[in-house]
């Protein structure tokens, strides 16, 4: 083989954008499964099951549009949401291989790891603590140094949050 020299910047995407695949399929690929190359780094299984497909045909590269799918990320269900179909990272899964992916998905409420438990109060940064102590002493406010703590604000409501208070 003659020496091959590739040209251009390398990236981590390997695949096609969603419209580039789906405009060749029956019913525009609704109901079919897709994976992404970037999510193959995890041992668990991630895939999308398409539900809505509306591509912008005025795009010459066939990347733009609105796409919705049921997301399964690392085995856990995350519901129906919009996915970035413009990324040239998607790979179609053959119908014989869908079984492989379905076996490795977890049940509805289960996620790929348990949520991290976090305490509600954390130590203040030291400089801030000293400033507050000095301020309190000037104003003659009584306080307990052990109670001078920072309340941690964490997002627990969204579907992408894997942390909870203890």
């Amino acid at each position: 083989m003659s020496k091959i020299e590739y040209v251009g910047r390398a990236g981590r995407f390997l695949g096609k954008s969603l419209p580039q695949i789906c405009l060749k399929l029956k019913n525009f690929g609704i109901g079919r499964m897709f994976t992404r190359e970037t999510y193959k780094r995890y041992p668990e299984v991630t895939y999308y099951v398409l539900t809505d497909f509306e591509a912008d045909m005025s795009d010459e590269y066939l990347r733009r549009g609105v796409f919705k799918a049921d997301v399964v990320f690392r085995g856990g269900h995350y519901g129906n949401m919009e996915i970035p179909g413009f990324k040239e990272d998607f790979q179609l899964i053959a119908k014989e291989e869908e079984k492989f992916f379905l076996e490795r998905t977890l049940s509805l409420g289960q996620k790929w790891r348990e949520p991290t438990k976090v305490s509600k109060f954390v130590d203040l940064p030291p400089l801030l603590k000293e400033m507050l102590v000095q301020e309190a002493k000037e104003k003659n406010i009584q306080f307990d140094e052990n109670e001078l703590k920072l309340p941690l604000n964490i997002r627990t409501n969204s579907p992408f949050s894997h942390a909870t208070y203890e």
Binding site: I4, R9, R12, P125, L152, N153
Partner: protein
Amino acid sequence: MLKSVTNSVFSSFKSLSIEQTRSIRLRKPPWVPRAKNKRFWIPPLKQQDRDEHNYMIPIWNKYKAEMRSVYLLFKTVAKFSDKESAKAQEEKKKQMEKEYKQLEENDQVNAEILKKQLEEENLKLETKKKEAELDFIKQKKIEELYLTKADKIVGKLIEKSKNFIDPNNLEYEIEKALNERYDHNFSIDSSGRFFKAKTIVTKSEAFDPKFIPKSTQSILPDTSSQQKNTELAETSP
């Protein structure tokens, strides 16, 4: 041996970070093309230690969470933020007062303008009314003039109709016209007035052979001259 780039590319798919570089040429001017050996140069993909990355991520998350909560603490409890600091609040108040004053002034100006506009519209209406009245009066006069004109024309025709000839009595009328006699013994002014013995006289009286103006009878000093005049008048054709 030149390394093929395929190995580095496929291994980089599993890497987690890519650095992108930008090059600046300091020695050469920008219109000179790139050197041959650098034309298709690809920046090297620097891979990071996976262990280092796995160690750093939870530390980062912890740090970011704490700093975010400090920021939120300042924002909520101490009400500190770039937008809502003491100075900013004062400036906000001043601006609100300014706007309030400006709106009041604007309302005043609008009211004055409204007044003027209403006055102008009232004036317009009044002028229209007066003009309409004048036009009405004019039209009335014009109609009256038409009527008077028509009356005149009709009166003239009525006067003339007295002299209209009946086609049944044609022969009688012809004989009558032939037997008529006119007196041409009168004088005419340049303006067309008829005179008979220095007295103004109408057209019919001028041609009338039997008409004698009365002033001659009064002015006449002698009876002999009076008689002569009467003889003259009789003998004239």
